[in-house]
């Protein structure tokens, strides 16, 4: 269910349908449940009570991928994560408790973190993986600490939990037949008797859950690159819903990067359409970063400017290779790096929307010809050694000298300064032979005017002393 709804703030009327062994509802959104659609209903019955119900087929591959994504995300709480299919995740947290401030605080952080990913989970803690899993299924929210006698808290659990742990249905029928209703009842039965009746698996499972026998698990190994996919609840080409879904992906990426103490400087966001190739958006941050807000801002600017050929069905995020990033400690007196980071962020945003060429710096260039005495430069780059100019130079330069009409009333204040250079560049129009003056017009504005040596009667404005 949640793999479909996490891309949108409101689940709406949605139900997930399984086609094997027969068509039936597997899960329904809260809005659908309110109308009377329940898990286990047939599709026809569900459509009868809620005609607007949106049906999505169940995609086990997507569920498995989401579980793996979640395992990668959980890596920043503990390095020991193992998958517990179909829908579970086991975190070995005993070594992380002190860092995160105790069991309740850690549980709260997990719930909040999952909410940022758009998921909701039933959470429980216990000294053994099996016990934790059973508690999560039956009494979510219960946090058992390893004190003497904790095993007794398992006694009230119903017998049905044993099915998940590999106990055969025939053994279960046997136990039900002799009036056993809870794990506590099983515990009181003689083990030898159970083993004689081919129900030895029950006591073995129980021993693992109670911590009397070892329970070995394979730890999850996170992938070298972060990839995640989120399906849109409804195909759309609107920016806001797309951005909402993309933020889910960025939250996962950020947590994955925190776990690896790394940062990325680029990632690809694939916008998948129903047909045709996916639109690929490359997000480049100026410096390696693991700030989800920064990626979200960049994605917003890029998405707003992007023409989409068709509505988007799903988003797929692929990170670049992570680079190691030294973690920064918080400073008591404000963060000295934040100003520099802000400056980089502004540059990223302007470039993302306006294009890299639209945002530049400037530097002087040693050339006598005024129009060639400057060059663009990447912003913030080191300046070359300053050169001095011979005469006054205006703060504003016109891109092209503008011919003065006969009506202009100018008073020459300073000059002339003869600039004669560039004879080698005549083909490009770079041959400059001019006498420059500073002139004031009737409103006392100062202009930089010249007349070409070859045409003494023609006057041009080339700049303003702003």
């Amino acid at each position: 269910m949640q793999v479909f709804t996490r891309g949108a703030p409101e689940a709406g009327l949605l139900a997930v349908v399984e086609s094997h062994p027969r068509q039936r509802i597997v899960a329904a959104s809260p809005a659908a449940r309110a109308l009377g659609v329940n898990a286990g209903d047939s599709v026809a019955a569900a459509l009868a009570v809620a005609p607007d119900l949106l049906l999505r087929p169940r995609v086990p591959a997507l569920e498995a991928a989401t579980l793996e994504e979640l395992a990668a995300w959980a890596g920043h709480f503990t390095p020991h994560v193992s998958l517990d299919p179909p829908g579970g995740l086991v975190l070995e947290i005993s070594a992380s408790l002190r860092l995160f401030g105790g069991l309740p605080a850690l549980a709260r952080m997990l719930v909040d973190g999952l909410a940022a990913l758009g998921l909701h989970a039933a959470l429980a803690a216990a000294p053994t993986p099996l016990a934790a899993r059973w508690l999560a299924a039956c009494r979510p929210g219960e946090l058992l600490r390893p004190r003497t006698g904790w095993q007794d808290r398992l006694a009230g659990l119903p017998l049905g939990v044993l099915v998940d742990a590999g106990v055969g249905l025939d053994s279960l029928d046997l136990l039900l037949g002799i009036g056993v209703r809870s794990l506590g009842d099983v515990q009181r039965l003689p083990r030898a008797g159970l083993a004689r009746r081919q129900a030895g698996a029950v006591s073995a499972v129980l021993a693992r859950a109670r911590g009397e026998a070892p329970d070995l698990r394979n730890w999850f190994v996170p992938p070298a690159r972060y990839t995640a996919r989120v399906a849109m609840a409804v195909p759309t080409d609107n920016v806001e819903p797309l951005l909402f879904a993309a933020r889910r992906l960025f939250a996962g990426l950020a947590a994955w990067l925190v776990a690896r103490q790394a940062a990325v400087d680029h990632c690809h966001l694939h916008l998948e359409h129903e047909s045709g190739p996916a639109t690929v958006l490359e997000l480049v941050t100026g410096a390696p970063s693991r700030d989800e807000a920064r990626l979200g801002l960049l994605a917003r600017e890029r998405l707003a400017a992007l023409p989409l050929p068709a509505p988007v069905e799903a988003l797929h995020l692929e990170s670049g290779l992570p680079v190691a990033l030294a973690p920064r400690s918080d400073d008591l007196f404000g963060d000295p790096d934040s100003a520099r980071e802000n400056a980089g962020l502004l540059l990223d945003r302007l470039r993302a929307r306006l294009g890299a060429d639209a945002v530049t710096g400037l530097r002087p260039y040693p050339d006598h010809r005024p129009e060639r005495a400057w060059r663009p430069l990447p912003p913030g780059a080191r300046q070359p050694v300053a050169t001095t100019t011979a005469g006054p130079r205006p703060l504003w330069l016109l891109p092209e000298p503008k011919a003065l009409g006969g009506r202009a009333q100018l008073t020459l204040l300073a000059g002339p300064e003869r600039i004669e250079s560039g004879w080698w560049d005549e083909i490009n129009g770079g041959d400059v032979r001019r006498d420059y003056y500073v002139a004031a017009d009737e409103a006392a504005a100062l202009c930089w005017v010249f007349h070409p040596l070859d045409a003494p009667g023609e006057w041009y404005v080339h700049g303003y002393f702003g």
Binding site: A343, L354, L362, W374, W396, P416, A440, A445
Partner: protein, 239 residues
């Protein structure tokens, strides 16, 4: 009631006279011109406010007015110039003492982009000052810019044509700039506090032709002036 003399004898912190600027304004950024500082609430450019400058033509000294502020751009902060009408000339900026490596020159293709870039630069808190030349902007846009500048405590200078001075605006300070020989006349159209009585006359000694008009003539390499043509409208300087 006491006599006016008795009022005047009281310490200034106890009595506020209506023709004085409110003393509560946050300290501003010094403009570099004592005459102007005296007329501005807070004694300088307001921090975190929209400032509108109406220059009737380029070249009256509109940039020279800001140069003392722009020279103080700290490292880690940008000096954003958004959609300037001409090319800011790098050699002149360097000799004016501007830290060119902090300059962020943003070119835009339409009015909406200019407004967007201005707002981003003002709201980011990463700029020591933002200079923008919007083609046109409405009251709501001005209000948004004022809020962005206020939030991040960035002075935001908008250069607009003098016709736009009639438009109501959310700007904290509006100045009309006009040229005069050797300097600049500043009419304060709006400020926080009482209306300004008289325009402020500023001297701009750094401007060519103002303080040292004969500098070039004294230059060892200066050539004798070529014969100036008695063109219609072009007159040699009367001395």
């Amino acid at each position: 009631m006491g006599s006016p003399l008795a009022l005047a004898a009281l310490p200034p912190c106890l009595v506020w006279q209506a023709d004085r600027l409110a003393g509560s304004a946050a300290a501003g950024l010094p403009t570099g011109f004592a005459e102007l500082d005296a007329q501005l609430p807070g004694g300088g450019w307001p921090r975190g406010a929209l400032i509108e400058l109406f220059a009737d033509r380029p070249g009256v000294g509109e940039l020279a007015l800001l140069l003392p502020l722009l020279r103080r751009t700290p490292a880690d902060h940008w000096l954003a110039w958004i959609a300037p009408p001409f090319l800011p000339y790098a050699p002149a900026l360097t000799s004016a003492g501007l830290p060119l490596e902090r300059l962020l020159l943003v070119r835009t293709t339409n009015a909406a982009e200019t407004l967007w870039a201005t707002r981003q630069a003002a709201a980011s808190g990463a700029c020591s000052a933002v200079l923008a030349w919007p083609a046109r902007i409405d009251g709501a846009g001005l209000r948004r810019l004022q809020l962005a500048a206020e939030d991040s405590a960035t002075p935001l200078f908008l250069f607009r044509p003098p016709e736009a001075a009639r438009q109501p605006s959310a700007a904290a300070l509006r100045l009309l700039l006009s040229g005069r020989p050797g300097g600049l006349t500043v009419h304060i159209l709006k400020r926080r506090g009482p209306a300004a009585a008289a325009p402020v006359e500023l001297a701009l000694p750094q401007r060519p032709g103002a303080a040292a008009p004969s500098r070039l003539d004294d230059h060892a390499l200066a050539r004798p002036a070529p014969a100036r043509l008695a063109l219609a409208g072009l007159h040699p300087r009367r001395t």
